[in-house]
């Protein structure tokens, strides 16, 4: 069952990526089959969310680590990218300062803060995108897992973490653009950021990243590593008695998950052109959980699917009936946890199981 889903998702994404690659990049515009900017950005956005959902599912579905603050890692990766893009603006900003971004000039700052150094180099920015969320996850997780904080306590303190970060990043004095965030980007790696080609490229990169992460994460889950994670999820104590350093496993998957989330954020920001502290909001992190819950946790593909489905709904609702969006989202939370504990994937699997009467072995996800 998993196989079918996996193949379907992979093929679908590959097809979309190839289509865009051929029509937007290879062929000249005159052929007219390329997707226009709006759709490129939309699909790119969804792909980034799918990566984010995948990241969360790797930790939650497989190891039972429910992070209600994953948006923080996403945002940190996004800010790292944003800082690179800000520095690329150079003197083309409103104030024309070759070194200082507009908001710093506006605050009457004369020097670039030390933590902005290096961000003009793409390799440095890339390094930060991976390191910053990863290191935060490492330290946070090290303290948390070592003291055996788990379950709901852990989830609550991840909320506190993202809330604290949100408060911090809203402050102008922090040097990250305050409540306006970082925006007005001009180009990336030398290419204009809003040109169709750039958008198409980012969409393609997002798609390829999703494919890469899907394949590699599912592979990892087929190894003993993945089985230890499942063991931890289902019987943490027993796994300890088998001699496994549970904290190390939890920490590794948590850090990997955070890093993937950070990369998703970094791919997201150039496509939508802005990163602001609202990205740290607790509600954002909770939405990610809904994507995974609706899609089906413990099945990485399901998480990606959930992200796309829920965001499609969001795009639709916020466009047509903005008031109804929160009603929809709220009801989705409530109904999916009660009636679809294993998400859409679970529903499919159950129906298939029901259709195929013989006992088929499938990975059942127990309640965390």
């Amino acid at each position: 069952m998993d196989q079918i889903f996996r193949k379907f998702t992979l093929s679908f994404v590959t097809v979309v990526v190839l289509y865009v690659f051929i029509n937007n990049i290879l062929l000249p515009e005159s052929f007219g089959f390329g997707l226009d900017s709006y759709y490129l950005t939309l699909i790119g956005k969804y792909l980034c969310f799918a990566i984010l959902a995948l990241a969360l599912d790797a930790a939650w579905g497989y190891c039972g680590i429910l992070s209600l603050g994953h948006g923080a890692f996403f945002a940190l990766g996004g800010y790292a990218m944003g800082m690179y893009l800000m520095r690329q603006i150079g003197d083309r900003g409103v104030y024309g300062d070759p070194l200082l971004p507009d908001f710093m000039v506006f605050l009457n700052w004369t020097e670039l803060p030390w933590f902005w150094t290096g961000f003009d180099q793409p390799w440095f920015a890339a390094l930060m995108i991976i390191l910053v969320p990863g290191l935060l996850a490492f330290f946070f997780g090290w303290f948390a897992f070592r003291s055996r904080v788990s379950g709901v306590y852990f989830s609550i303190i991840t909320q506190a973490l993202t809330y604290a970060l949100m408060l911090a990043f809203f402050r102008n004095e922090m040097g990250f653009g305050g409540n306006n965030g970082l925006t007005d980007f001009k180009d990336v790696l030398g290419y204009p950021i809003s040109s169709e080609r750039t958008r198409a490229s980012f969409m393609i990169v997002s798609g390829l990243t999703l494919i890469l992460f899907l394949i590699s994460t599912s592979w990892a889950m087929t190894t003993k590593f993945g089985r230890v994670l499942l063991a931890i999820r289902d019987s943490e104590d027993r796994t300890r008695f088998l001699g496994y350093r549970v904290e190390s496993y939890k920490l590794s998957i948590f850090v990997l998950s955070a890093t993937m989330a950070g990369i998703a954020g970094a791919l997201y920001v150039p496509q939508i052109g802005i990163i602001n502290p609202g990205e740290f909001s607790p509600l954002n992190s909770i939405e990610i959980v809904v994507w995974v819950a609706v899609g089906g946790r413990g099945s990485l593909y399901g998480a990606a699917l959930g992200a796309v489905v829920v965001n499609l709904a969001k795009t639709y609702f916020t466009g047509a009936y903005p008031d109804a969006w929160l009603y929809f989202l709220g009801s989705l939370f409530v109904l999916s946890t009660i009636f679809m504990p294993r998400g859409i994937v679970g529903v499919f699997q159950d129906s298939l199981h029901w259709l195929v009467t013989e006992k088929s072995r499938y990975r059942g996800t127990s309640s965390p």
Binding site: A144, R146, I156, A160, L167
Partner: protein
């Protein structure tokens, strides 16, 4: 030679023994009088209680008093380019614009100016209107004028009003500080001992900056000002602590309901903040229904909010939570959904903007102990209210059969069930109780902040932090945690600012939980994990 003094004497006598008022017609005389005579006129005017007299003096001292021969009266004149705009003395209504030559300025010199100032001071300070007196004193405190010393001393002696006497004492002290005589300076310092007002501090600082004071005076002055600073600091800290208790009371009210639902059922209700919000909105609605007498509305709101939120809680428990029993993470998620739904519902009904909830009259104003320590009455109300709620809950939990059953279920569900306690019913009631208390928290909060659909969001993370910090299922722990966090926040705030304070407190709790996952006072035998 003799004539002038005689004229003077005559006039003085006349002024003394008659209630002669200044007449406008005397404008000509005034404009032509000598300096000595002018001084006399000031005396007369100062005793004249009419508004005209006051205006004349005011305009005179500022150099805007003129005699207008054309109409034989006194007017106020303001330079306008090369000409002068003439205005009525009292009303200030513009009359005409004339050339400089058309009017005679009533001149003033320093001596007269001083005299007039004193006269004006005297007038306002001996006004029958108490508020006018206080305002006058406050103004004079800002700029102590040594020349007023004798007037003030005279007033002080004559003063019978307790309210103004302390102020006058301070004012005289400040004026003494401006003196060049050591004895007077010392007297001034003495008067200002233990005076925590900013004017006293400023006055003393100004004195100490001067280079012409004796070493004795300097020593005394330094001692006094240091003592004042110490006292200010002490009272400042006391105020921080009381503010902390006030904040802690709010946190306590918000969190204790959660402690009950979390403690009894191990249920994480992420919609808890919205129950607080419902309580606040209930207060608003009750106020619409019972207008005017806000105090009654407030007292009605308390049970009303308890019922509204409590019923909502029971409904939530029966419809959603029950189905997810034993799955805390799912419950967390489902209740997040409910929180979104409740917020949106309130938004649809009441609109997305904040609503104004007014405080009753009796709660407005503040308790002022001194310049460094004051607390508004509505905060006092919240502290008392929180204490009452805690006492009520304690009585409920430890002195009623219901409470005993509730605690039994908290500590050992299975055992309690086998003793005949219907745990399902307990669950619903416990949830109702916890949510009802949240509703009452909303009433208290509505007195202090704006009421909007997002009210709950501001308190949910904090409430969880308090519960988790204090220890699950423990009322006492929640109380200590809430007050402790409130005081800690308010002590840290003045040092690093409110936002950083919040961040630091959050980080502290995160680290604390990792060292002691069960909180400060964990109830043994129960944990969410089990």
């Amino acid at each position: 030679m003799v004539i002038q003094p005689c004229k003077f004497l005559f006039r003085a006598l006349l002024a003394l023994f008659s209630s002669a008022t200044f007449a406008f017609e005397d404008g000509l005389t005034l404009s032509q009088s000598s300096w000595a005579d002018k001084a006399e006129w000031i005396e007369i005017l100062s005793r004249d209680t009419t508004d005209e007299a006051e205006q004349i003096l005011k305009h005179w001292v500022s150099g805007h008093l003129f005699y207008w021969p054309a109409e034989n009266r006194l007017v106020a004149g303001f330079k306008q380019g090369r000409k002068y705009e003439l205005r009525e003395l009292i009303s200030g209504v513009a009359i005409n614009v004339v050339k400089r030559k058309a009017v005679n300025k009533i001149k003033v010199n320093n001596k007269l100016r001083s005299k007039i100032k004193q006269a004006l001071a005297y007038r306002s300070l001996s006004s029958s209107d108490a508020s006018k007196r206080l305002t006058a004193i406050a103004e004079l405190k800002r700029k102590p004028d040594y020349s007023l010393l004798h007037t003030l001393l005279r007033l002080e002696e004559a003063n019978r009003d307790l309210k103004t006497s302390r102020d006058l004492q301070t004012l005289v002290g400040l004026v003494y500080l401006e003196s060049s005589k050591s004895t007077e300076q010392i007297e001034g310092i003495k008067r200002l001992t233990d005076n925590l007002s900013s004017e006293a501090k400023e006055g003393l600082s100004r004195l100490l900056l001067r280079e012409d004071i004796s070493s004795d005076v300097r020593a005394l002055g330094l001692r006094t000002i240091r003592d004042i600073e110490k006292q200010l600091s002490y009272w400042g800290h006391a105020q921080d602590i009381v503010f902390g208790i006030s904040l802690g009371s709010i946190l306590l009210l918000a969190a204790v309901g959660l402690a009950i639902t979390f403690g009894v059922m191990g249920v994480i209700n992420m919609a808890h903040g919205e129950f607080i919000m419902l309580g606040a909105y209930t207060t608003f609605v009750v106020q619409q229904i019972i207008p005017g007498g806000s105090a009654t509305a407030l007292f009605v709101s308390i049970p009303a909010a308890f019922i509204v939120a409590g019923v909502a809680g029971i409904l939530l428990e029966k419809s959603v939570i029950r189905h997810l029993y034993g799955r805390p993470l799912e419950t967390l998620l489902a209740t997040v959904g409910v929180s979104l739904l409740l917020q949106q519902m309130v938004r649809s009904i009441f609109g997305p903007l904040n609503q104004a909830v007014t405080s009753p009259e009796i709660l407005s104003g503040s308790l002022v102990v001194n310049a460094a320590f004051a607390i508004t009455y509505n905060r006092v109300f919240v502290i008392i209210f929180a204490a009452l709620v805690m006492v009520g809950l304690w009585l409920l939990m430890y002195r009623t059969p219901f409470g005993v059953r509730l605690r039994a279920v908290t500590m050992n569900r299975g055992m309690a069930a086998s003793m005949g306690i219907r745990s399902q019913r307990m669950d619903a009631l416990a949830f109702g109780l916890g949510s009802g208390v949240a509703g009452m928290a909303g009433v208290a909060i509505s007195q202090l902040t704006n009421v909007g659909p997002n009210l709950g969001q501001a308190y949910i993370v904090d409430s969880f932090m308090v519960v988790v910090f204090g220890g699950v299922g423990n009322l006492f722990g929640t109380a200590i945690a809430a007050i402790g966090l409130g005081v800690a926040t308010k002590i840290v705030e003045p040092i690093i600012g409110p936002v950083l304070a919040k961040i630091v407190i959050l980080i502290f709790i995160i680290l604390f939980i990792q060292r002691r996952p069960r909180g400060l006072f964990a109830l043994r035998g129960r944990s969410v994990e089990e």
